[in-house]
C-alpha cells in the first residue's frame, strides 16, 4: 500500500438475497482526493457509499481507512461525515444546533462549539444564520448547513450521496463549485455519488464509472471521456456515434462503402465497432485528398445555443447516420440548412475501436 492511500476497498461484494448488487470492487483512494462514483440509477454506487459509511454491510470484502481495518465496524466507530440528497437536517433544531449536533455529543465546551459553528457557517457562506430553522432556508442553503454539520467534527473522510440532485440547475452548478473549492481548502478526502456526468467532470480528481454492480473504469475526466475503456463508458459519458466497420489490411477500416484510415491495425476481415464523439467529426479544415473525408447531407438541425446538434446522412456510410456538433457561426457562414451538402472528416486518432 502506498503511503498516500487513505481508503482502500478490496473485493467488496454485496448480495441482496439472490441479487448481486456489487461485485469485485477494488479501489484505492488517495488522501485528499475527490472521487466521484458515476453511473446510471441502480448501478450500485449509492450502495457502495453506504457500505463505506457502514450503513449497509458488505457480504464480503475488506475496507481499510488510514490503514485500519474497518470492515466490521458500526458507523459510529468509523470516521466520516455524510451529506444526503434529502439534506436530513433536523427540522426542530436551529441551524446552530444542527451544526453543533456532533460537537455537543463530544462534550465540546459551549463557547468553543459556538465558535466552531460560526467558523463553519462562514466557511459554507451562511454566516449569521445560527438562529434560523431549516424550513426558513432554501434548498441550496439547507444543503450548505448539512455540509457544515458533516464537517463540524473535522472528519477526514466526507461522503456525499447525490447532494445536488434535489436542487435546481443554477444552484446546482454554483454549489458544486463551492463544494470543490471547500474540499481543496480543507484537504478532506471526499467521495461523491452522482448520476450526472457533467457534475462529475466539474469536481472530481478521479471518476469511478460503475455499471451493474461493477467498476467499469477509473480515471480522470479526460481519460474517461476520451479513452473510454468499454462500450458502456463510451455510451454513458457524453454523446457517441456508433459505426459498424470491417477491418481492411494496412490500418484501414470500411464503413458502408467508404474506407477510412485508423491509427491501429486489425486483422483483415474482423468485425469492429467504431465509437466517435460528435465533436470528432470535423467540418473544417478539410485537407485535400484526405481519405477520411466524405460527403454528407444535413437531415436535421437541433438548436442548442452556441452550437447545433446536426444529424447527417451519407450514401457512403450505408445505413449509418452521424450526429455532429457544428457551431452556429459556421452554419451561418456556410449558409447550411436542412438538405445542404457538406464535406466532413473523421479524426482517426479520436476513434475508439472495439473488436
Amino acid at each position: 500500500m502506498s503511503d498516500a492511500t487513505y481508503l482502500r476497498l478490496a473485493g467488496i461484494r454485496k448480495d441482496f438475497g439472490a441479487f448481486t448488487a456489487l461485485s469485485h470492487i477494488d479501489l484505492d483512494i488517495a488522501n485528499g482526493e475527490f472521487v466521484c462514483f458515476l453511473g446510471p440509477s441502480g448501478c450500485g454506487k449509492t450502495t457502495l457509499l453506504r457500505i463505506i459509511a457502514g450503513l449497509e454491510v458488505q457480504t464480503a470484502g475488506r475496507i481499510e481507512l488510514a490503514g485500519r481495518d474497518i470492515s466490521a465496524l458500526p458507523p459510529a466507530k468509523r470516521d466520516y461525515g455524510i451529506v444526503f440528497q434529502s439534506y436530513a437536517l433536523f427540522p426542530n433544531l436551529t441551524v446552530a444546533d444542527n451544526v453543533a449536533y456532533g460537537l455537543t455529543n463530544r462534550k465540546v465546551p459551549k463557547a468553543q462549539a459556538r465558535e466552531r459553528v460560526a467558523e463553519l457557517l462562514s466557511l459554507v457562506g451562511l454566516p449569521g444564520s445560527e438562529a434560523k430553522y431549516p424550513a426558513q432556508l432554501s434548498g441550496g442553503q439547507q444543503q450548505r448547513i448539512a455540509l457544515a454539520r458533516a464537517l463540524a467534527t473535522a472528519p477526514r473522510l466526507l461522503l456525499l450521496d447525490e447532494p445536488l440532485s434535489a436542487l435546481d440547475a443554477i444552484v446546482r452548478v454554483k454549489l458544486r463549485q463551492e463544494i470543490r473549492s471547500l474540499q481543496r481548502q480543507l484537504g478532506v478526502t471526499t467521495i461523491m455519488v452522482t448520476h450526472d456526468q457533467e457534475e462529475a467532470f466539474a469536481v472530481a480528481d478521479r471518476i469511478v464509472v460503475m455499471n451493474q454492480g461493477a467498476i467499469e473504469q477509473v480515471g480522470d475526466a479526460m481519460q474517461v471521456y476520451r479513452e473510454p475503456r468499454s462500450l458502456f463508458v463510451a455510451d454513458f459519458v457524453g454523446r457517441i456515434n456508433v459505426l459498424a466497420a470491417t477491418a481492411v489490411d494496412g490500418g484501414r477500416l470500411r464503413v458502408g462503402s467508404h474506407e477510412f484510415h485508423c491509427p491501429h491495425a486489425f486483422r483483415g476481415g474482423s468485425e469492429l465497432r467504431v465509437y466517435l464523439r460528435p465533436e470528432d467529426v470535423l467540418a473544417r479544415p478539410i485537407p485535400a485528398g484526405d481519405p477520411n473525408v466524405f460527403e454528407a447531407l444535413i437531415e436535421k438541425i437541433e438548436f442548442m445555443g452556441p452550437y447545433c446538434l446536426v444529424r447527417v446522412d451519407s450514401p457512403v456510410l450505408g445505413q449509418h447516420k452521424l450526429t455532429v456538433y457544428l457551431s452556429l457561426n459556421y452554419l451561418a457562414e456556410a449558409q447550411l440548412e436542412v438538405g445542404s451538402r457538406l464535406p466532413l472528416r473523421l479524426v482517426p486518432e479520436r476513434m475508439r475501436i472495439f473488436e
Partner: protein, 568 residues
C-alpha cells in the same frame, strides 16, 4: 487478495453497545405482546379443545355447538343483522362524506363535529335513547306499529342503534377516501365533455373503491362483535356476542364460550386480512403529483347535499338529545320535570361514583402507558436495525389486535391469567390488568398513527446521527420525540376516549372493587334503572368531551412550545 479470504464467511458488522439497548427494548416489547396478546389467544384455542375437566376433547365442543339449534340461530342472527347494518350505514355515510368533500355546502366543520359526538359516549347510549323513543313507554311507540314492527326490542333496535354507532367510523374512512381525489382526472373528463353521472361512476366511485371496501369491513366487524347494544336492546334476540356472555358468566361453560369466541374471531380475522390487502393496494393510488380537488359552486347540488346533512345531523342530535333529556326527567314518562334524581341515584345509591373514579384511572393509565408503549415500540420497529425475525413478529403482533374483538380478548385474559400456574396470576381482577387489556385492545390504531408519523420523518436522521457518533436515544429525545408530539397526543386522546367507553374488553375482567363506569351502566340497565343508566352514559360523554378539550389545549400548548420551527 482479501477477496478470497473473505469469500467464505459473510461479513457481520459488530454491534455497537447503544444498539444493544434498542435490541433489549424490542425484546421487551415482544415479550409483553406474547404475554398479553398471544398467550390469551392461545388459551382460548386450548380451552376450545378441552372438556369441562380439562382433558383434551378434540373437536367435540365444536360438534356439540353445531348440534345446538339455539346457538346456530345466534350465528345466523349475528350475520344478517351485521349485513343489514353495513348495507344501510355505508351508503348513508358515503353520501355524508360526499357532501363534506365534494360540495360547497356551508358549516362543514359543524356537520363533521356533530357526527363525531357519538364516539364520545358508550355505544349503548344509542340503545338507551331508542328505548326512550320507541320502547314500551316510548314517545313515538305508535309509529312502530304503522311501520309493521311490534316492538323495538330485538333486531329492529339492534339494527338502528348499530347504524347510529357505526356511522362515525364508516364516515371517517370514507372522508379520507374521497378527500384523496386528483383534480386533474376531473379536468381531463370535463375537457372531453363528460356528464356528471359518468364522472361519478368512472372516476369518483373507482377512486373510493378501497375506502368503501374498508369501511364496509370495519362496519360489519364492529356490529358482529359489539356487545353493549344487543345486551341493552336485544331482548330475546340472541347474537354471538351475547351468547358468549351467557355461556361464560351465566352457565360457566368455558369450553363452549371459547368455541363461540373462535367463531367471532373468524369474521374479524377475515376482515383484517382483507383490509390489509386493500390498504396495500390503496397506497399505489395517489401519486405525489396529484392536484387536490376543489369542488365548484353548484347551487342545486349544494342545497340538496346540505339538506341531507341537516337530516342526518338532526337524527344524531335527536338520538343524543333524548338520552340527555331522559337522564334529567324526574319520572319517565309521567313527570318530565327536570331533576338530578337519576344522577344522584346512579352516582351515590348505585355507587357508580367509585366506578367512575376507576374509569378515569384506567383511562388515564391507558392513555399514558399506551401512548408511551405504542410510540417506543413503533420507533424501535421503524428506526433501528437488527434482529430481523423478531421485528417481523412484533410487527404482526402490533397489527393483530385489530382482528381481535374485545370480548374474545377479555375471554382469553380470563383463561390465561386466571390459571393458577401463571406467574402473572396476581394481576387477575386488578385495574392494572384491565388497563393492559384495554391498551392491547386498541393498540393497532395507535400503532398505525405512530408509524405514519415516524415514516414521515427523513429516513436518514439515524444515519446522520450515527456518522456524528450520537447514540440513537439522544436523537430520539432531541429530534424524533419533539417532532412527533402532536401524533403522540392524538394517540393518547384516542386511548383515553376508548378506555372510557369500552365494555367488551373488560366485561369479564372486573371485580366489584374494580368495576368501571361503562360496566356499571350495563348493570344499571339490567336492574331496570334505565334513567340512571342514561345519566351515567351522559356523564361519560361529558367526561370525554372535557378530556378532548384538555387534549386539544395540551396539543396547542405543546405546539407553541416545541413546534416553533414550523413557522416560516
Amino acid at each position: 487478495m482479501s477477496a478470497l479470504l473473505h469469500a467464505s464467511a459473510p461479513v457481520r458488522q459488530r454491534v455497537h453497545w447503544n444498539e444493544r439497548i434498542a435490541h433489549a427494548a424490542l425484546i421487551a416489547v415482544a415479550l409483553a405482546m406474547l404475554a398479553f396478546l398471544a398467550g390469551p389467544l392461545a388459551a382460548i384455542l386450548q380451552q376450545s379443545l378441552q372438556d369441562a375437566q380439562g382433558r383434551f376433547a378434540g373437536l367435540a365442543n365444536f360438534v356439540a355447538y353445531a348440534k345446538t339449534p339455539a346457538l346456530l340461530d345466534s350465528l345466523w342472527n349475528s350475520v344478517w343483522v351485521s349485513l343489514v347494518v353495513t348495507l344501510v350505514t355505508i351508503p348513508a355515510a358515503f353520501g355524508f362524506a360526499y357532501a363534506l368533500t365534494r360540495s360547497r355546502m356551508r358549516w362543514k366543520a359543524l356537520a363533521r363535529t356533530i357526527t363525531l359526538v357519538p364516539l364520545l359516549a358508550p355505544s349503548l347510549l344509542a340503545a338507551i335513547s331508542l328505548i326512550y323513543w320507541f320502547g314500551n313507554q316510548g314517545l313515538l311507540k305508535a309509529w312502530l306499529g304503522r311501520l309493521g314492527i311490534d316492538q323495538i326490542y330485538g333486531a329492529p333496535g339492534i339494527v338502528v342503534a348499530e347504524i347510529f354507532s357505526t356511522f362515525p367510523h364508516a364516515l371517517m374512512i370514507l372522508i379520507t377516501a374521497l378527500a384523496a381525489a386528483d383534480a386533474r382526472l376531473y379536468e381531463a373528463a370535463d375537457s372531453m365533455g363528460t356528464s356528471a353521472a359518468r364522472k361519478f361512476f368512472t372516476i369518483t366511485l373507482p377512486g373510493a373503491k378501497y375506502g368503501l371496501i374498508s369501511a364496509a369491513l370495519v362496519t360489519f366487524t364492529l356490529v358482529i362483535t359489539d356487545f353493549g347494544i344487543p345486551k341493552v336492546i336485544g331482548g330475546s334476540f340472541n347474537v354471538l356476542a351475547t351468547d358468549i356472555f351467557k355461556l361464560v358468566i351465566g352457565q360457566q361453560d368455558f369450553s363452549k364460550g371459547a368455541v363461540v369466541a373462535l367463531l367471532l374471531l373468524a369474521p374479524a380475522v377475515l376482515t383484517f386480512a382483507a383490509d390489509h390487502w386493500v390498504s396495500k393496494r390503496q397506497t399505489a393510488m395517489l401519486t405525489a403529483r396529484a392536484v387536490p380537488y376543489a369542488p365548484k359552486r353548484a347551487p342545486w347540488f349544494d342545497a340538496a347535499m346540505s339538506a341531507y346533512c341537516v337530516i342526518v345531523c338532526a337524527l344524531i342530535l335527536a338520538m343524543l338529545g333524548m338520552a340527555v333529556f331522559a337522564s334529567f326527567a324526574s319520572f319517565w314518562p309521567y313527570n318530565l320535570a327536570p331533576s338530578l334524581r337519576h344522577y344522584a341515584m346512579g352516582l351515590f345509591d348505585a355507587e357508580v361514583g367509585d366506578a367512575f373514579v376507576n374509569s378515569l384511572a384506567m383511562s388515564a393509565g391507558t392513555a399514558l402507558c399506551g401512548a408511551a408503549l405504542v410510540f417506543v415500540a413503533a420507533y424501535m420497529l421503524e428506526k433501528t436495525q437488527g434482529l430481523k425475525p423478531l421485528r417481523s413478529l412484533v410487527r404482526l403482533l402490533a397489527m393483530l389486535p385489530m382482528a381481535v374483538p374485545g370480548l374474545v380478548l377479555g375471554l382469553g385474559y380470563i383463561f390465561f391469567f386466571n390459571a393458577p400456574a401463571n406467574p402473572l396470576n396476581p394481576l387477575y381482577h386488578t385495574l392494572t390488568l384491565m388497563t393492559i387489556c384495554t391498551i392491547v385492545h386498541f393498540y393497532t390504531t395507535g400503532h398505525l398513527t405512530a408509524v405514519t408519523a415516524l415514516k414521515s420523518l427523513d429516513a436518514e436522521f439515524e444515519s446522520v446521527s450515527a456518522s456524528l457518533k450520537v447514540p440513537f436515544y439522544k436523537t430520539f429525545w432531541r429530534v424524533t420525540l419533539p417532532i412527533c408530539t402532536p401524533a403522540l397526543v392524538d394517540i393518547a386522546r384516542y386511548f383515553f376516549i376508548n378506555a372510557m367507553t369500552t365494555i367488551s374488553a373488560v366485561v369479564f375482567l372486573y371485580a366489584p372493587e374494580t368495576k368501571v363506569a361503562s360496566i356499571a351502566i350495563l348493570n344499571l340497565d339490567e336492574a331496570g334503572e334505565i334513567g340512571a343508566a342514561a345519566a351515567m352514559a351522559v356523564l361519560i360523554a361529558v367526561a370525554n368531551t372535557v378530556a378532548t378539550f384538555g387534549f386539544m389545549a395540551l396539543s396547542w400548548w405543546i405546539d407553541r412550545r416545541t413546534q416553533a420551527w414550523k413557522q416560516r
